[in-house]
Symmetry: C2
DNA sequence: GTCTTAAACGTTATATCATAACATACGATA
DNA sequence: TATCGTATGTTATGATATAACGTTTAAGAC
C-alpha cells in the first residue's frame, strides 16, 4: 500500500490554489472539497461515492454539483478520469500537465499513475503517421499486481 | 473515409466462424448479427444503437441480449470497446489477439485502430518495473484528424 | 431416439453513471 | 450599489449497464 504523507494533501491543495490564482480561476469550496476527498482516497472513486460523502458531511448536493466540480478539476489537470472504471483519481504528479498512464490491478483495483513520457512520444509519432494530431490520451493497463498474481497462482496452480 | 471492400464483411465473419469452431464456441445468430452490424458501421457505435437496429429488423431484444453478445465478442477479441466513448467497434486486424490502440478525432469521431505492438512493449516494460503484469490495455488517443484540424484553423486563426 | 446438462436467450426490473434546463446566489469591478 | 458573468442549487430525465430468474436450445451420454 502506498503511504500518503500527511503533507501530501496540503501540498496538492496549495498547488491547486496557486495554479487557480495564476489562471484567474476560483478553487471554490465545493471544488476544493472534492479535490481533498480524491487526494485522501487511495483508490479511484466514483462520482456518486463522492456525492455520498458530501451528504454525510451535511451538504445536500445533487449529482450536477459533483460532476461540475469534477469537470473543473479535470480541465485544470488536477485529477484524472479512469474511463474503464468510471472512476476519478487525484493526480499525484504536480507541476506539469500530462497524459495519464494507469496500471490498474484487475483483481484488487490497486492503481498506480505513471508519467509515461515515452508512451506519449510513441503515441504522438503514431498519430502523426496517420495524419492525426495528438491532443491528449488515456492509457489504462489492466494488470495483476504482485500480491494478486501470487494469490492467483495459489488458487490455480 | 476508409473504403470497406464488400468482401471485408464475409472475410471477418468467416474468420470469426473458424475461430469459434477452433475454440469449441458457438457464433450464434445474435452474436453473428451483432458482429455483422459492427463491421458494417464505419464508426464505433453504442450498445443501444445496435439494439435499435435489431428492433427495426423485427427482433424484439432487450438490453441484456445485446450486452451478452458484445461481451462474447469482446472476450473472443472480435471487437473492441472504446471506454471514453461508451462505444463498440469491430476489430479489423484478423489473426492475432492484441490490445487496441485507437486514434479518435474529438471533433468528427473518425476512429482508426492501430496494432501498436511497440506501445504494448513499452507498457509491458513499465508495468514490470512497477511489479505489475500486463494483462491487456486500452489506449485511446484523443486527436484532431487532418480535415478537422484545418477546419479549426479556419474558424480560429 | 430419449435423457441429461450446460449454455444461450428472453424478460422484467433495477442499478449506475451523467447531463439538460432553469432558477438563485455570489463576487468582481465599474 | 448596479451590473454581469460565473458558480451553485434543484428537479427531472437521459444514457449505459447488469441482476435475477425462467425458458429454450444444442450437444453429448446412454
Ligand atoms: Zn497525473
Ligand atoms: Zn491486486
Ligand atoms: Zn483489433
Ligand atoms: Zn475529424
Amino acid at each position: 500500500m502506498d503511504k500518503q504523507p500527511s503533507n501530501t494533501l496540503s501540498r496538492i491543495l496549495a498547488y491547486a490554489e496557486q495554479e487557480c490564482q495564476a489562471r484567474s480561476l476560483r478553487l471554490t469550496p465545493v471544488r476544493r472539497r472534492v479535490l481533498e476527498m480524491l487526494v485522501k482516497h487511495k483508490h479511484p472513486v466514483s462520482a456518486y461515492q463522492l456525492l455520498d460523502e458530501l451528504v454525510e458531511e451535511g451538504h445536500k448536493p445533487a449529482p450536477p454539483t459533483v460532476y461540475r466540480a469534477l469537470d473543473f478539476l479535470l480541465e485544470q489537470g488536477f485529477i484524472h478520469r479512469l474511463a474503464t472504471q468510471n472512476n476519478y483519481v487525484a493526480c499525484m504528479h504536480l507541476g506539469a500537465r500530462h497524459m495519464g498512464v494507469f496500471l490498474v490491478c484487475k483483481r484488487c483495483k490497486k492503481t498506480v499513475e505513471l508519467l509515461g513520457e515515452n508512451v506519449r512520444d510513441t503515441l504522438t509519432e503514431l498519430a502523426d503517421k496517420n495524419q492525426f494530431s495528438l491532443e491528449e490520451a488515456l492509457v489504462e493497463v489492466n494488470c495483476l499486481c504482485l500480491p494478486c498474481r501470487r494469490q492467483s497462482e495459489r488458487e490455480q496452480p
